[in-house]
């Protein structure tokens, strides 16, 4: 019999036992739907993380001190002189307290050099940034992050009034709207000069940020910055430094490698359910071969070759699995669509997911269909005919 005829037989059998066929498919449906939905969750999550990282700029190098005295203002000034540097700013930070007449909470006190606000451009809720005027650097002004403002219960009429930082008087000049930002909450910002007076260990800074003129220049700048600092501290290239230099690009790639691994892990778990689905198909196919032993005998008697029987059962298994795959794909995409709305990321049907889902279910069908189909084809016609 030609393949088309055999396929028709297989399909009519699947149709004749609709309920059983649906239940048999269920394992594969769930497996594939899980793979599709999980892939989309991982995609969406990494999309979101990357977007947050991108707001920090991809042309930026972050130098972080690993010890309180590891980086100095002089280091920062020297770094600013490097070729290809557009902007440099530094910060010095420490835990401290902030207080009004009636309230007092803990916060992170951050001293920033005067290019900070211009470079980072945080959203402002009210008031203004710290003044850039060098003459005003010594002014006791403070800008609150949104969380710090909330913690302390600041209201708009406090603008221009006095708040206490570590017990010292500061004038509130602005409040940021930085809740949506990345790691800036619970902070208050003062000038580097003020910071020295109230908490920092002069002339040390906790972080230096260097922005390259172009994103392409970041890698070269990173090498140059590391070389410069090693020279200044007399470190050979293989000694461990007391600071780290990271750039956003490498951070993004680190994050994406984490999300890739996570994706692989989740897909692996979903693949297990797909295999369980395949075993379900195999089980039902074996039962089916047994139930249909006499039919197989009759088919053999009226001229079916072993190959015809093998193909018929194999097609049945593959069709069940593939149909399960298609249904699973559709359900998975529907789930992904709603998850995308829920998680506020972009919904996209990825062709590689489609190919993976269908390819996987095809393989499962063949893999778990072969044994039952072989069992069926190897039945002796006489025994099969006599089977009760």
């Amino acid at each position: 019999m030609n393949l088309l005829g055999t396929a028709r037989l297989a399909l009519s059998r699947i149709w004749a036992t609709k309920t059983r066929s649906l239940l048999t498919m269920l394992g594969v449906v769930i497996g594939v739907a899980a793979i599709v939905a999980l892939t989309s969750i991982v995609d969406g999550a990494s999309q979101g993380i990357n977007k947050s990282l991108a707001t920090l700029g991809t042309n930026q190098l972050n130098l972080t001190a690993l010890a309180p005295d590891a980086l100095t203002e002089q280091d920062a000034q020297a770094l600013a002189e490097l070729e290809g540097v557009a902007v440099m700013f530094m910060q010095s930070q420490n835990e401290g307290t902030i207080a009004t007449d009636t309230n007092r909470v803990n916060a992170r006190l951050v001293g920033v050099s005067n290019q900070y606000f211009e470079a980072v451009k945080p959203e402002i809720a009210m008031g203004s940034y710290l003044s850039k005027n060098p003459l005003a650097q010594s002014a006791r002004d403070v800008v609150f992050g949104a969380d710090a403002a909330n913690d302390l219960g600041l209201t708009s009429d406090m603008l221009g009034k006095t708040v206490k930082l570590n017990g010292q008087d500061f004038r509130l000049v602005g409040v940021l709207d930085d809740q949506a930002g990345f790691g800036t909450a619970g902070r208050v910002y003062v000038t580097l000069e003020s910071a020295r007076k109230i908490f920092s260990q002069y002339p040390y800074v906790s972080a230096i940020v260097v922005q390259a003129e172009t994103p392409e220049g970041v890698d070269a700048l990173q090498v140059a910055a590391d070389r410069l600092l090693r020279e200044r501290y007399g470190l050979s290239s293989d000694t461990e430094a007391r600071y780290t230099i990271t750039n956003q690009a490498s951070l993004i790639s680190a994050v994406s490698s984490i999300t890739d691994t996570l994706g692989l892990l989740l897909t692996g778990i979903a693949a297990i359910s797909l295999i369980v689905g395949g075993i379900g198909i195999m089980n039902i196919m074996l039962v089916s071969v047994r139930e249909r032993t006499r039919e197989i005998g009759v088919r053999r008697a009226i001229g079916a070759k072993q190959k015809d029987v093998l193909t018929q059962f194999l097609i049945e298994a593959v069709v069940l699995s593939l149909a399960g795959g298609i249904v699973g794909l559709i359900l998975g995409q529907i789930a992904a669509f709603f998850l995308a709305i829920l998680g506020d990321w972009e919904f996209a049907i990825r062709m590689d997911t489609v190919a993976l889902a269908l390819g996987f279910s095809l393989v499962v069908g063949v893999l778990f269909g072969v044994w039952p189909a072989r069992t069926a084809s190897k039945l002796e016609p006489i025994d099969a005919l006599r089977f009760e």
Binding site: M1, R299, A301, K305, I382
Partner: protein, 229 residues
């Protein structure tokens, strides 16, 4: 007349557990084209074994079985299937229509397994069913056919490939006597058309309808009788 079935010193043994059972013991017999033969015997006489050997469902342990001139002993499963498909049309006691399959599809199946196109198979199957008075039942599956109708579908299925031999195994066994008699009449008509009919039965009355009767007992031919009893 050409010999369509030749058994020469045929022996068939089975291994049941560790015991060898001889089902047929040194049987030699020939059946010519156009004959109507009944193979008669009680259960255990070896008639089922003989049917399996003639039907190319089984091979002899020793001796030669030649069906339409081909010796079956050395054939591969595929070759045996091909010979069976060409030479034999089966009619079974329990009709053995395929489940979830219409009368038409049942009769088409042997043709499709021969590689004949769906279109031609459909045409030939329809003609055969019409000839057997089932033109109105083409799309009925076995649940909607009476026993007699089912057996006629089975006979149509056996005849549709124009086999050299129609092999009917207790074809009336599952039918009431009136319907059974109609089936025997049908076989007689087919014989009159020149077909070779081999009827396997334990029922002496049924066997009496065949002009030649081969009696089996304990794996041996007891009697080979010709002419109407």
């Amino acid at each position: 007349m050409a010999k369509v079935v030749e058994l020469e010193n045929v022996r068939r043994e089975y291994l049941v557990g560790d015991q060898v059972t001889v089902a047929l013991d040194d049987v030699t017999v020939a059946i010519e084209s156009g004959e109507f033969v009944a193979i008669v015997g009680p259960s255990g006489s070896g008639k089922s074994t003989m049917m399996n050997l003639i039907g190319c469902l089984d091979r002899p342990s020793s001796g030669d079985v030649r069906i339409s001139g081909s010796a079956t002993r050395e054939l591969s499963d595929n070759e045996l299937t091909a010979l069976r498909s060409k030479a034999i049309g089966f009619v079974f006691q329990q009709f053995q229509l395929l489940p979830n399959t219409s009368a038409l599809e049942n009769v088409m199946a042997p043709l499709l397994y021969q590689g004949i196109s769906t279109k031609v198979a459909k045409q030939r199957a329809t003609e055969m069913l019409t000839k057997l008075g089932l033109a109105e039942r083409l799309n009925f599956d076995r649940n909607r056919l009476s026993g007699g109708q089912q057996q006629r579908v089975a006979i149509a299925r056996a005849l549709v490939t124009s086999p050299d031999i129609v092999l009917a195994d207790e074809p009336t066994g599952a039918l009431d006597s009136k319907t059974g008699a109609q089936v025997i009449e049908l076989l007689k008509e087919l014989h009159a058309e020149g077909r070779t009919i081999i009827l396997i039965t334990h029922d002496l009355d049924i066997a009496a309808s065949a002009p030649r009767r081969i009696f089996l007992r304990d794996g041996l031919i007891e009697k080979d009788e010709r002419g109407h009893a």
